[in-house]
Amino acid sequence: MATTSYLRAYRHCTSEGAKLRVAAKTLETLCFELRSARSFEAFPKSLRQAPLNFENSGRQKCSLLLRGDQLWLQRDKESIRLGGAWDVQFLAHDGLLDIALPMAAQPALLTALSLRGMRRP
């Protein structure tokens, strides 16, 4: 019984580690895409509430949105899956955009992005 519970706990730990790495990768891809922005329409507090719309440096209309547990970027007519994410939260202040990636059983991953050179609401 002890062995079974250990194996179960071990599997839980490794799956949480895998989820964490996936979240970090998603955040990396998200930051990369947001850096191509030249103007934002509005910053929703959470992507669960509304998509994040922006225009990239190639003057293409882009939209970041969640479909289920996946983060998608809609650019013109194509959709690109950026990675797994339960939610993405934004907070714009002092020319910076705080980005938080909440996770189910762990603290959220948090970073910031400079909005210098980007037109914002």
Binding site: E16, G17, L110, A112, S114
Partner: protein, 157 residues
């Protein structure tokens, strides 16, 4: 009481105690393994957050174009990022718990000027398992838009 019965009882007692001790050792070993896994998982989370704190510090610097007077960006419960200069390099050290990750921007020519990154930024290696080295290419385009692309090779595995 006959001696044979006493001997058998003694053997049974020793056997039971041995099995008990073995079970205790096994339980302690499994608990120890489990604790290690939980600790490693927590440290991995902190290591990744420390890296993102270093990135956030770099972004704050890109926005403000100056090093904070105290040399620290405080991200409250998420940790902090300390900024220091090493020769021409500007080092952003993200911290979360006991974990630290550094991003060193090389060839920083003028800290208060428009053109900050002359050639590239280099992210120093992370020592925790699952994290390796990553590489930044930094610079400002002709249109003045902030362009900083990054790849974190180990995380992409």
């Amino acid at each position: 009481m006959p001696g044979g019965l006493l001997r058998r009882r003694g053997v049974a007692l020793v056997f039971t105690l041995s099995v008990g001790v073995l079970l205790v050792i096994l339980s302690l070993s499994l608990f120890s393994f489990y604790s290690n896994e939980v600790y490693a998982q927590g440290q991995q989370q902190k290591a990744i957050q420390a890296y993102w704190n270093a990135r956030a510090g770099l972004e704050h610097f890109c926005q403000e174009r100056r090093v904070p007077s105290a040399g620290v960006y405080d991200f409250h419960e998420h940790g902090r990022c300390t900024v220091s200069t090493q020769g021409k390099d500007l080092v952003f050290e993200g911290q979360a718990g006991s974990q630290k990750r550094r991003i060193a921007c090389s060839n920083v020519t003028r800290l208060d000027g428009w053109r900050i990154f002359e050639t590239a930024c280099f992210y120093a290696v992370g020592s925790h398992r699952g994290l390796g080295s990553a590489f930044f290419d930094g610079g400002y385009g002709l249109n003045g838009h902030h362009q900083l692309s990054a790849s974190l090779s180990a995380l992409h595995q």
